[in-house]
C-alpha cells in the first residue's frame, strides 16, 4: 500500500514536470524540420561526384532554390577524427568497467570467470569484427532489402586505399555521415568505433549467465550471437541502407541495437540455461560491491564516448565533435544522475534503506534509457527520462522475484527493460533533429514500436536457436559439482583472491 502510494506520488511529480516540456515542444513544433533519412554514403560514390558548392546557405539565397542542397564531397575533419579516436577508446574502457560491475556482484568463487566473460569478448569480437563483422553490419546492402551487409569489406578491405603499391603511398577511405556537408573521418576510425559497440553488446548478455555457464559454450555463443544477431541489427538500424533506418527509426547510440537486443537475448538464453543451483534459497550476495561501484564509474565515463561519440551517425549534421555531441554529453550526465536518485529513493521507500548497489544500478539504468535518445532530446526531457528510468528498471529487477527466473546480474531487468523503455519514449520526447509524440508526431512513436518489436523478436528467436543448438552440442552449463566449486577453479584453474 505504502509502495503504491509512493509510486503514485512519483508519477504525479513526473506528470507535473511534463507540462513545461510539452509546452516547450509545442513551441518548437513549427520550426522542427521533418525527419528525412539522409543517405549517408559509401565513400566511393561520393568521391566520384564533383565537388559541389559548399552549402553555406545564406538566408538571402534565391527563393526558388531546391529544398535539398546537393551532395558534397567528403573532406577529412581532423577535429572530428580526434574526438572519434578518443570516443572509441572510451567505449573500449566500458568493457573492463562492465567486468568490474558484474564481477563484484557474483560470489567470490566466480569473480574471474565473470571478468573473463567481458574480457574474452574483446578477443573474440575484436577479431570477428575485423574479419567479417564490420562488413556484415556496414558493408553494401545485400539485395537492397536492408537486412544485412555483403562481404565487400571483409578484413576491412578498401578502408586503406593503395594509390601506389611500389612506393607504399596510400589514401584513406572516408566515412561521411551526412552527404550535404563535407565533414568526414577516416572509415577505419568509424569501423573501430563500431567494433567497441559490438564487443560490449555481447558482453552485456553474460550478466544473465554468470556463475554457471560453460566457458567453451560461452565463447562459441559470443561468436555466433555477434555474427547472427548483432551484425544484422546494426545494419538494420544504423546503416543508411538498413530497413529500420529508412523507416526513420530513432536510435542515437544503441538503445535498440545494443541494450534491447542484449537484454532480450539474455532472457532467451535463460530458457535453456536454467537457474543457478540453489537459487533462490541459497545466499548469493555480491562478494565485492566496491568493485561494482568502480565499474559503474568506468561505465559512465566510457558512456560519454558511447553517446557523445554517436553524433557521428547523427541524421542531419556532419559534426562528430560539435553541438550535437555536446547535447548527447549533457543528456548522458543528466539522465543517469536523475536515475541513480530515483532508484535510490524508490528503494528507500520500498524496502527501507538506500543501498549503494541500488544507486549504482540506477545510474546504469539511466545510461541505458538515455542511449537511444541522447542526441534527440532536450536536457529537461533527459531529466524526466532519467527519473523514469530508475523507477522502471527498479520494477524490472523485481520481475525476476515474481516470475522466478534467474537473471543473475539483471541483464534483462536493466538492459532489456531499460532499452525497450528508452527506445519507445525516444519517440515521445524527441525534439532535436526529429520529432516525437510531444512535438505532435505520433507516427514516430509507431515507428519506434515497430523497431522495438522487430529487433526484439529477431534477437529473441535467433538467440533461442543458438542456445538450443549449443545446449544440444556443447552443453550450456557446467556440472553441478563444478558449479558448486566455482567456475574460477573449474573453468580456469585459478582463484581470484589468494590472500
Amino acid at each position: 500500500m505504502k509502495l503504491r502510494f509512493s509510486l503514485a506520488l512519483l508519477m504525479l511529480v513526473i506528470m507535473a514536470a511534463l507540462i513545461p516540456v510539452a509546452a516547450m515542444a509545442e513551441e518548437k513544433k513549427d520550426a522542427a524540420p521533418a525527419v528525412t533519412a539522409p543517405a549517408a554514403a559509401t565513400p566511393a560514390a561520393d568521391a566520384a561526384k564533383p565537388a559541389a558548392a559548399v552549402p553555406t546557405a545564406a538566408p538571402t539565397a534565391t527563393p526558388a532554390a531546391p529544398a535539398t542542397p546537393p551532395d558534397v564531397k567528403p573532406v577529412l575533419n581532423t577535429g572530428d577524427t580526434a574526438w572519434m579516436l578518443v570516443s572509441s577508446a572510451l567505449v573500449l574502457l566500458m568493457i573492463p568497467g562492465l567486468a568490474l560491475f558484474y564481477g563484484g556482484m557474483v560470489r567470490q568463487k566466480n569473480v574471474l570467470s565473470t571478468f573473463m566473460h567481458s574480457f574474452v569478448a574483446m578477443g573474440i569480437v575484436g577479431v570477428q569484427w575485423a574479419v567479417l563483422g564490420y562488413s556484415l553490419a556496414f558493408g553494401g546492402d545485400v539485395g537492397h532489402m536492408g537486412l544485412i551487409g555483403d562481404f565487400s569489406k571483409v578484413m576491412l578491405n578498401g578502408l586503406v586505399i593503395m594509390k601506389d603499391a611500389a612506393t607504399g603511398t596510400v589514401d584513406w577511405a572516408l566515412f561521411q555521415n551526412y552527404t550535404k556537408e563535407p565533414g568526414a573521418i577516416p572509415e577505419l576510425v568509424f569501423a573501430m568505433y563500431q567494433c567497441m559497440f559490438a564487443i560490449i553488446t555481447v558482453a552485456l548478455i553474460s550478466g544473465a549467465m554468470a556463475e554457471r555457464v560453460k566457458f567453451s559454450a560461452y565463447c562459441v555463443f559470443v561468436l555466433l550471437w555477434t555474427t547472427l544477431v548483432y551484425d544484422p541489427l546494426a545494419h538494420w538500424v544504423w546503416m543508411t541502407d538498413g530497413w529500420l533506418f529508412k523507416k526513420g527509426a530513432l536510435d542515437f547510440a544503441g538503445g535498440t541495437v545494443v541494450h534491447l537486443s542484449s537484454g532480450i537475448s539474455a532472457l532467451a538464453f535463460l530458457i535453456f540455461l536454467g537457474k543457478r543451483h540453489g537459487f533462490p534459497q541459497e545466499r548469493m550476495a555480491p562478494h565485492n560491491l566496491p568493485l561494482t561501484l568502480l565499474g559503474v564509474g568506468l561505465l559512465w565515463f566510457g558512456w560519454f564516448g558511447f553517446n557523445a561519440g554517436s553524433a557521428i551517425v547523427g541524421v542531419n549534421t556532419s559534426d562528430a565533435a560539435g553541438g550535437l555531441a555536446g547535447l548527447a554529453f549533457a543528456t548522458t550526465t543528466i539522465a543517469p544522475a536523475a536515475a541513480g536518485l530515483s532508484w535510490m529513493i524508490a528503494e528507500w521507500i520500498h524496502s527501507g534503506k538506500p543501498s549503494a548497489l541500488g544507486f549504482g544500478s540506477g545510474v546504469v539504468a539511466g545510461l541505458v534509457v538515455i542511449t537511444p535518445a541522447a542526441g534527440f532530446v532536450q536536457p529537461g526531457a533527459a531529466l524526466l527520462m532519467g527519473l523514469a528510468a530508475g523507477l522502471v528498471c527498479y520494477g524490472g529487477i523485481m520481475l525476476k522475484a515474481k516470475f522466478k527466473y534467474d537473471d543473475s546480474l539483471d541483464a534483462f531487468g536493466v538492459h532489456g527493460v531499460g532499452g525497450t523503455f528508452g527506445a519507445i519514449i525516444t519517440g515521445v520526447f524527441a525534439t532535436v533533429g526529429a520529432t516525437g509524440l510531444l512535438a505532435g508526431n505520433a507516427k514516430q512513436l509507431m515507428i519506434q514500436l515497430i523497431a522495438v518489436l522487430a529487433a526484439g523478436a529477431y534477437a529473441f528467436i535467433v538467440t533461442l536457436i543458438i542456445s538450443f543448438v549449443l545446449d544440444k552440442t556443447i552443453g550450456l552449463r557446467v556440472d553441478k559439482e563444478d558449479e558448486i566449486m566455482g567456475l574460477d577453479q573449474t573453468q580456469h584453474s585459478e582463484s581470484g583472491y589468494n590472500m
Binding site: 545466499r283 550476495a285 529487477i397 522475484a401
Partner: protein
C-alpha cells in the same frame, strides 16, 4: 586458575582491553568469531533479493587468571563491554588445570 572467555561486541574490544590493562592483566587472546544468541541475525537486500544473515560477527576474548583475580576481571569485562542493548555478549568462567610458559617452563600461577 580459571580461563575467562568473553564474547563481546567488536567495537567494545578496545575499551575492554584498556580496562583489563588498568587492573594489571598482562595478556589476552582475541579472535573474530560469528554466532547468534537472542540478538538473532539481520537481513541484507541486494536488488530485491533478501538474505538473512544468521551469524553476527563478535569478538571472543580469552584471559587466564589466578583464582583471586576472577571476580575482578569478570566485573571489569562486564562493566566495560556493556552497552545495555541486546547482543552485548556473554562471559564464561572455566576451570583451568594447568598453564605452562613455553620460554621458561614455569607452571601454574607463575606462568600466567
Amino acid at each position: 586458575m580459571k580461563l575467562i572467555e568473553a564474547i563481546i561486541k567488536p567495537f567494545k574490544l578496545d575499551e575492554v582491553k584498556d580496562a583489563l590493562n588498568d587492573i594489571g592483566i598482562e595478556g589476552i587472546t582475541v579472535s573474530e568469531v560469528k554466532g547468534f544468541g537472542r540478538q538473532k541475525g539481520h537481513t541484507e537486500l541486494y536488488r530485491g533479493a533478501e538474505y538473512v544473515v544468521d551469524f553476527i560477527p563478535k569478538i571472543k576474548l580469552e584471559v587466564a587468571v589466578s583464582d583471586d583475580l576472577v571476580n575482578k576481571v569478570v566485573e571489569t569485562i562486564q562493566g566495560s563491554a556493556k552497552t545495555g542493548r541486546i547482543g552485548d555478549g556473554k562471559i564464561f568462567v572455566i576451570s583451568l588445570e594447568e598453564a605452562v610458559r613455553i620460554r621458561t617452563g614455569e607452571t601454574g600461577n607463575e606462568a600466567i
